[in-house]
Amino acid sequence: MAIHIQNNIRTNYEVRNQLHSIPCKIHADCDAPVSKFFIPSINKDGVMKASFRGYPLIGTEVKIPEGYRGVVLHETVRPATETEERKFYIINSFDKFNYWNWGKAASKNDSLIKAMEWIEIAEALHTPIQE
């Protein structure tokens, strides 16, 4: 199965909206009035807080490492079988996002925070050795 990713946006595309990753799965795929309902605040201790469906969330800003960009992919036609080729389009890109945890601050225990480490390790492993 091959995956094609097509870039049809300008390279310097600036995302004006904030991007949030929240610690739950919403069983829906749709637009949502984020700025109306999701109102983060920073308390006097500098902790970023918000609430989703009454659950307390604590946030951390995660920056995408230099040389990389986060992208939002969109698939217009879903493949019927697993072996079919898939085509994704980049519809947005970002260089940072807010990572929210349920009732605790983000730490090295979080898969996503840890996953970012792979980027550096992958570079170390796969960069050709120059003599």
Binding site: I26, H27, Y55, P56, A115
Partner: protein, 320 residues
């Protein structure tokens, strides 16, 4: 804070109360303590504590305290503070203004616990029950009064749960004072009644002065009393439920009334399991069933990925 600003924030009647409530951040808790009458610093005082708005699905829960010198306690009866339960909203408003007018003898304070804080506490990782939230609010009010210089002698508290246990608990925190915790204390002790009136008036006005963050106030129609049984409140909940986010912050998400509407109307949301449950399900998945022995299936050997990757939810999706 400059003196000018402080003057604006002083609550001396219903109008200044409304101003205070309109300005406050509804997502957070807000507290207010009146000026302490000189006589309350000089003479031994009784201090009453009561709560308003524990049951409703909408709006804040308000903890109130009132205090005055014990030898002035007779004044309370003349102010209609005999039994707050028998008063209607209008007479409560009048009595509240009377309490404000007697600021040379009676002091008061409130802790407005936002609906957002209530559901955040109830939905926190380590359970923080409404009872504990309530007790901490009462303790906070007593501490605030002590800090402001009130010469407390006797504390009277209205209770919802078992009075004896609560009384012991409070006494262990404040061993210097006499502590009386009783059910229906607001109809027995006038100072608790005064506290109850402060709490109830602030709760009612906080609901009236509510500033919605999720749009203009005019976007939201009448929400009624906030009690789960009120048909106006029920209609408000049903009509203001976003498919993704649910309700505006006026609503206590953790009430069964709200949970039921979310279940019926909104998208299903799955949260991370609490650790112990997670371990239990994982263990059962690993255990092979006894009947699998009889299955004639070819064993597929999948090369397991290193822990480094599985811990980070990283997997290989494309063969290079």
């Amino acid at each position: 804070m400059s003196n000018d600003e402080e003057a604006i924030h002083k609550i001396i009647d219903l109008e200044t109360l409304d101003k205070f409530l309109t300005k406050m951040d509804n997502s957070e808790n807000n507290s207010y303590i009146s000026e302490i009458p000189e006589v309350c610093k000089e003479y031994p005082c009784c201090l009453g504590i009561d709560e308003a708005g524990r049951g409703p699905v909408l709006g804040p829960m308000v903890y109130g305290t009132a205090f005055c010198p014990i030898n002035e306690a007779g004044l309370l009866a003349t102010l209609n503070c005999a039994d707050s339960k028998t008063l209607n909203e209008k007479t409560r408003d009048i009595t509240f203004e009377d309490i404000c007018k007697n600021s040379d003898k009676i002091g008061w304070a409130v802790d407005v616990i936002s609906p957002n804080t209530i559901c955040n506490s109830m939905y926190s990782r380590s359970k923080y029950s409404l009872n504990q939230v309530s007790m901490d609010a009462a303790i906070g009010l007593i501490k605030a009064a002590i800090k402001a210089g009130v010469n407390i002698e006797h504390i009277f508290v209205d209770t919802v749960g078992p009075a004896e246990k609560y009384q012991k608990y409070l006494h262990s925190i404040f061993p210097k004072y006499k502590v009386t915790v009783a059910a229906k204390a607001d109809s027995t002790y006038p100072i608790v009644s005064a506290a109850s009136i402060c709490a109830k008036v602030v709760r009612d006005h906080a609901l009236d002065a509510w500033q919605f963050k999720e749009g203009n106030n005019s976007d939201f129609k009448a929400f009624g009393s906030g009690y789960p049984g009120d048909p106006v409140t029920k209609k408000f909940l049903a009509e203001n439920c976003d498919m993704v986010f649910g309700f505006p912050q006026l609503v206590r998400f953790s009430w069964s009334t709200s949970e039921k509407i979310l279940q019926e109307q909104a998208y299903h949301v799955e949260w991370e399991e609490i650790d112990e449950d997670e371990k239990a399900t994982k263990a059962s998945e690993k255990t092979t069933s006894i009947t699998s022995f009889f299955k004639v299936t070819e064993k597929k050997t999948v090369k397991p990925i290193h822990n480094f990757f599985s811990q980070r939810c990283l997997s290989r999706n494309v063969e290079l």
